[in-house]
Amino acid sequence: MTIVHIACKNLLRKKVRSLLTMFGIALSAWVLISLFGFNAGYESSLNRDIDSLGYQVLVTAKGCPYEAATLMLKGGTGLRYMPQRIADAIAQESEVEAVTAMLMHTVFDPNKGESGGYSAYLGVDPTTFPKMKPFMEFMHGGWFTQPDALEAVLGYEAAELEQREVGDLLLITEKNIEVKVVGVLKRTGTQDDGTIFLPLRTVQQIFGVTDVLTGIGVKLKHEADITRFEEKMYRLPDVQVVTMSQVKQTIMTLVTTAKVIVLSIALIAVLISMTGVMNTVLMSVMERRQELGILKALGATSLDIFMLIWLETFVLCVLGSCFGAVVAVTTSALTDMLVRNILPYAPRGGLMQISMPLVVMTVGTVTGIGLVSGIYPSWQAGRVRPLDAIRSQEE
């Protein structure tokens, strides 16, 4: 028999109380792991989304930078057009490795969903766009046969949504024009999965907006100074430049604000559960004063008693935080789904990234805080004088 054995048996004495305290600790660990897991997962998914754009800079017509960021990440109709010649001018810059011109247009489709919806078409340059996104692979078919062909390439999810395969026709409702599906892309895990690609010139012709663009994707050379390039771009009239880092920063600023609030709540939860630990252990010490006095009469030192009570706190905290960690890991998919429904913008891929170091660190932190909160009750228990303790409950 060891002191650990005695501590564990003591915890089993009031099972419901020990379980409730453990539950409080588990809750703190769960919240903390989920929160930090979300933080890591969101950032990494956002990075992956941005990296898979294939370009580091998006040049758009002047407008709201947040809408530009949304356009860059999620797609959507541009607010304003800019002349197509700007793309040629940008391509001449020494820092530029490649540019690709894009024109996005949406039309209302009354047959979409229950009360209709918008279909977005992204006109891309068939010569430059595929080179900028070499990771795109076709499940069936291939890119357009002509730069102005009435053809479409569907992202994986767009093909599922429209229920179209290679060779099928796709009706652009408002214009009553049909385009032929020539390719269906494999899943990329990016916004491209939900996109309907058409040749740039075809989109311009169908929607009657010749020689204009909504965006220009710019891939810079490795050695290029992105800030200097940005300054140059601002000299061009009526354009704004959205860099990858700006997009990240804009979204992360929004997310961080929410995160700070959630973190504060999590810290309050940790504080409450630790107060619970202190309360439980202190109550247990008060109830067992006589017993602790007997232990002292039997030869236990103050340090022995301190260690016994501290061990009980330790066991509670370790079991509670481990349980919380298991719950956090097993419910991460559910948490991902819930958070995704709440967030206005969620990147593709997993939002929760719970790693082993994160679990170990959180379990360690929660246990550490628990141990600190157990110091006072343990110290109180260690101070018990054998006779006072025995007498206190005889009276």
Binding site: M1, I6, I294, G299, T301, I390
Partner: protein
């Protein structure tokens, strides 16, 4: 510290004063006595006469207000000196075994675990064999895996005695050891005490109301209002 012969415990002019509001009450008043190796000393007297206080002072559980207490030749407390809590703990471990009227067994531990408790704090490794032999000695070996709640009063007191004996003390201090027991069990405990003195040479100081039980003692002292009315 334990020695083969002579005085084990000495109390010289021991007094203990308590404050009750503005009034000072003398629980013990100038008490002197000695306890020798292998003898049973019974302390009798009415309730509130100071018997338990004397036992606690002799057992280093409580400090006197004045006077001197010695364990063997070591001064535990006098006018000039008072041992530290750590030193007192060491003496309690080495010299004393305590038996209380209410047994004070730990309810979550089995009989053998309760008896083993002192070993946990001494960090001795030969505990199980010692525990088994002591449980056999007090006649409770068949109950070693039972919890205190499953035992009768007599059995619980035997467990308490086993626990007090497990570290081989030189002095056993028993406060009303038969207070919760019927006459048959009282006889049994009395026999056990006599056997301990004979075979192990343990000195026993027992506090009791039961004058019949006190007859097992080699000497009887009587306390009245904190004073020895029958000298030792």
């Amino acid at each position: 510290m334990p020695q083969q012969h002579g005085q084990v415990l000495t109390a010289e002019c021991v007094s203990k004063l308590y404050r009750r509001g503005s009034e000072q009450v003398a629980a013990l008043n100038d008490v002197s006595l000695t306890v020798n190796r292998g003898e049973i000393l019974a302390c009798v007297g009415p309730s509130g006469s100071g018997k338990t206080t004397l036992l606690n002072i002799l057992g280093c559980l409580e400090n006197p207000t004045s006077g001197r207490v010695k364990v063997y030749e070591q001064i535990i407390v006098d006018e000039k000196k008072r041992l530290s809590e750590w030193a007192l703990t060491k003496i309690r471990r080495q010299v004393f075994g305590y038996i209380f009227q209410k047994f004070y067994l730990i309810p979550t531990l089995t009989v053998s675990e309760n008896v083993m408790l002192p070993f946990v704090f001494y960090r001795k490794h030969d505990a199980p064999a010692d525990v088994d032999s002591i449980l056999r000695f007090v006649g409770i070996e068949h109950r070693k895996y039972h919890l205190p709640v499953q035992l009768s009063g007599g059995e619980m007191q035997r467990v308490a005695i086993a626990r007090a004996l497990v570290n081989k003390p030189s002095v056993l201090l028993a406060d009303e050891p038969t207070g919760s027991l019927d006459s048959t069990r009282t006889e049994e405990i009395g026999e056990l005490f006599k056997q301990l003195c004979r075979t192990e040479g343990i000195a026993i100081v027992l506090v009791t109301h039961n004058l019949h039980f006190a007859q097992i003692a080699d000497r009887i002292i009587e306390l009245r209002d904190g004073k020895l009315s029958r000298p030792s």
